[in-house]
């Protein structure tokens, strides 16, 4: 057979191979050990040099062409096979993903972290104290002697009397942490003390347990102007507004002197509270310069040291900031509420990234 017709014949066979097996058969029949082209290569040895050179070159050319055709056909067949497979592998991407519970962080916990971010930046450490307190830390050391009318107003939860006549109580405020902190450390002191507090009171706006945050600074120079500044800076940072109007009203707490209550301005827009706008006032905290008797109870010399203290409701500022209407719902563990008002697991408040 002439080389040209062999070439045409082989290339036809390559093109006709419908799968990789057929293609391999063609390869064996042409380029295999006993293939038609290989056989012809073997016959070159019997030729004269001139003839061999010519025929050899032609045969090599043919061999290359066939090899190329085989490779091209092989790739085409693989491509076609992949395409065909992919066509069978279609899924419905609109089907839902595997179910996975979405966790949440309680608003009180979120606000705890926000408050700690702000006061941490101002150099306030976080102090804590027990919920079951004694009379001294909760009252007497805070300049509320027995029979003081303020004791009646605290609606204290008591435990049963001990054989020695004393009885423990549930702390009515976070202020006992002031005493514990002063007794355990030396000035200068800058702490906040967030935590649970308890009063025997329950109605639309009161729950027998609630969360407070206490602040305490003791050093030699801090005065009322510093207290005002800290509270103003806190309110701006916490409510994330450029300016909050604040009203500082003289008031009375046994543990501070002078004492003041602080209001911030707000307005209502479509049933929502907007802090930092409007002319209405909302009381948010009580504060003052720590009473000399309290400093003394903390084992510190009030002749040399002074400072301020403040206390506010952690639940309350959470309600104000996030528009949560009902305090009682905070403690009911209603999944609908937890999911609606809760925060995402990795929504960690930072000063750099913003609190909300």
């Amino acid at each position: 057979m002439q080389l040209q017709s062999l070439e045409a014949d082989v290339l036809d066979q390559v093109a006709a191979a419908s799968d990789e097996a057929a293609l391999e058969a063609v390869r064996v029949a042409t380029l295999g050990k006993k293939g038609s082209i290989s056989e012809r290569m073997k016959s070159l040895g019997a030729m004269g040099p001139e003839e061999r050179r010519e025929a050899g070159a032609a045969l090599n050319l043919l061999k290359d062409k066939v090899a190329e055709a085989l490779a091209a056909r092989k790739m085409a067949l693989q491509e076609a096979a992949l395409e065909a497979r992919l066509l069978t592998e279609k899924i419905d991407v609109t089907l839902p993903v595997r179910p996975q519970g979405q966790g949440t962080i309680h608003p009180v916990s979120q606000v705890w972290e926000e408050v700690v971010q702000i006061f941490g930046d101002l150099g306030f450490a976080v102090a804590e104290g027990p919920h079951i307190e004694d009379d001294f830390n909760n009252f007497t050391a805070l300049n509320i002697p027995p029979e003081h009318p303020a004791r009646q107003e605290h609606d204290t939860f008591y435990f049963n009397e001990k054989p020695d006549g004393s009885r423990m109580l549930l702390r009515t405020h976070t202020s006992p942490v002031q005493i514990r902190t002063m007794l355990a450390s030396k000035p200068p002191i800058r702490i906040i003390a967030p935590g649970r507090t308890y009063r025997c009171d329950s109605d639309m706006t009161h729950t027998p347990m609630f969360n407070q945050i206490e602040g305490l600074v003791i050093d030699e120079i801090t005065h009322l102007g510093h207290l005002k500044w800290v509270l103003a800076e806190f309110c701006k940072a916490f409510f994330e507004v450029d300016d909050v109007k604040m009203r500082f009203r003289a008031s009375h707490f046994p543990f501070t002197e002078p004492s003041m209550e602080v209001d911030i301005n707000y307005t209502r827009e479509g049933g929502r509270l907007v802090i930092g706008q409007g002319d209405s006032w909302l009381e948010i905290l009580g504060s003052g310069m720590v009473h000399p008797n309290v400093i003394r109870s903390g084992g510190i010399d009030p002749g040399k040291y002074q400072g301020f203290a403040f206390g506010m409701g952690l639940d309350r500022i959470a309600m104000l900031k996030y528009g949560i209407p009902d305090l009682r719902a905070f403690f009911e563990a209603d999944l609908r509420w937890l999911r609606h008002y809760g925060f995402r697991a990795l929504q960690v408040p930072t000063l750099a990234g913003g609190l909300t």
Binding site: G103, I105, M209, W229, P258, A333
Partner: protein, 797 residues
Amino acid sequence: MKFTFSWLKDHLDTTASLDQIVEGLIGVGLEVEEVSDLTKALAPFKVAYVRDAVKHPNADKLRLCAVETDDGVKQVVCGAPNARTGMKGIVALPGAYIPGTKVTLEKGVIRGMESQAMLCSERELLISDEHNGIIEVESHWAIGTPAVKALGLDDPMLYLKVTPNRPDALGVRGIARDLAAKGLGKLKPLEAAPVVGTFSSPIKVTLDFPGNDTKPCPLFVGRYFRGVKNGPSPDWLKRRLRVIGLRPISVLVDITNYITFTYGRPLHVFDAKKVNGNIGARLARDGETIAALDGKTYDLTSAMTVIADAAGPEAIAGVIGGEPSGCSETTTEVFLEAAYFDPLRTAATGRKLGIASDARYRFERGVDPAFTQTGAEIASAMILKLCGGEASHLEIAGAAPDTSRSFTLRAARVKSLGGADVPLTEQSRILTALGFGVSETAEGLSCAVPSWRPDVHGEADLVEEVCRIVGLDNIPFAAMERGHAVARPVLNPLQKRMLAARRTLASRGFNEAVTWSFIPEAHAALFGGGQPDLKLANPISSELTDMRPSLIPNLIAAAGRNIDRGFADLALFEVGHAYAGDRPEDETLRAAGLRRGAAVARNWQGGARAVDAYDAKADALSVLEAAGAPIATVQVVAEAPAWYHPGRSGTIQMGPQNKLAHFGEIHPRVLAAMDVKGPLVAFEVVLNAIPGAKTKGAARPALNASDLMAVARDFAFVVDDGVEADKLVKAAKSADRVLITEVAVFDLFKLDGAKKSLAIEITLSPRDKTLTEAEIDAVSAKIIASVQKATGGILRS
């Protein structure tokens, strides 16, 4: 504390508006709870004259009136039976908002006749419920006079929330004094000229206390009046009392109430004819009783002070008067009592008897002892003026307790404590205006405290006085020094663990709850609590009686409530305290979680998978790991507290003495007792129990990774059912602690004859050179031998 604007002006000479006064009160620390000013709401209502009232041509019960108003004569259709020619009433013209009906008045046509205005009833003005007829005013009021003026309602009422340290502000005069110091007017001179007695009182006063210790009542002032006429008080007095919510009784009683509210000085009047013998203050005798003016009878004890005559107690000192000797319309002889009672004893008495009175309210906060006699004189003058009669000389027993004291206010102290720059002369002016006796000294100001300020005990109080009058709003903001340019960390390890536990559990799909620290007694008992030390003496409800020994019971109860709302699959957690005793160290911070229902909800790829103890174990381990516990070395043992299923629960511990967490299925009996259906698993991690991190510094040890390929080999062992997987895994690991880097359980199934097959995958990580088959076989043989020795397990063929 309630009073009216005009009442205040009796004592404060001022041109300030009501709004300015309110602002001033708030500024000085007298919180204004409410201002009730009808002059604004009732501004459209004015006096009008009914020139003519005739029957409506088309209706029997209606009248057609011609009414003269300050806007001309209007035709008014009126249904009131008392509408008649010649009367003066209150008219509203179209456009006026009627508070009682909440509509804005428009011209109307009633039964064919135009009605151009409305004659109003009291209910329409919301000043009473009266709606049987229209308001009639006295004929001297000119047409167009504002209704509030003609009705005597033009005196705004103020309601202050007075802090307990300020008994002086429980009288109008004390409030006026603060406002005068604030610069809102001048305090008018006190009108308290002594009344000249004309006879000697037939009733003497005595103080009768054991050992002459007159602390309960150091001063008793009395005065006898004869020939008085009791009866209704004059209109101005009745009106003032009504506005502040007091019911006028009779002029004698009303005078005592009026002086209570004007000067913060409670008094009492006895019908002298009903007094037996002399009268005096003494301690009650146990077993004595008194029928009080509130209609109730009280049992007295020797801890209480009474005012008594020969017949027995006639009043509970500083709290309430007695009914038998009270004044009535027929009283003609009166004995006036003004005394000073010990605040603590008065408070304790009132509290014990459950009596809240205006007198107790003031005495327990501390009335001005020096004002006792003055109060009696003012009352005397008022009695003589309003009731006539004759007054005796004053009868006085004891003396006012000496409360005199002075404190120095250093010149720079207002600045250094209050942060306010106030010139010394201004400080002096303020304190003087508040009644302090001020004199300048080398140090600053020496200040004698007035007798009506029991709250002032030192320099800080003086600073407060100056600051509150200057106004706290006027104190400049002062930046606090920043300790470090970049803030230092402030959280302690436990606080960081708390945050890590929370975020970890939320990321595992848990919803965080915050629940009560106290729980029902029955729940406490189920979880190892209920100790006497941890029971509230005065719980707010029977559901909140015991401090919780664990966080789990509240989570189970919450799960129950949520299940009832249709949430069958849920994961709840809480991070909070549990209480093992009443000492601070008995409170531990815990992270507890609960899963209920399906761990994976039913979905199109397969059915639901119910929660099991291994879910809870994974949760507990993830919390421990996030909180920095050494997870690689903790032990998991098959024992747990009694509220867990005994066979499906465990404890994670560092050793028998340091348990970090427990987990498992909740005991079916506990669920039944709490009426919550399972499947339900829970865990509780004690965050306090986790040991602190040992490593210091941020740097990590160098990475020691081998480039040689690790080799994995599988082994399946047949062991007895009771053999714990952990034991087998540990035995395998111990075969070569260097080469074996991981042992993973990958298969478990039950075999006949109380046996099971447990399959493990061993990872061998060569360090120096690739392992040969011979070396691998040698390790394998060691593993098989080690497992067999430890567990009796045989390699499955």
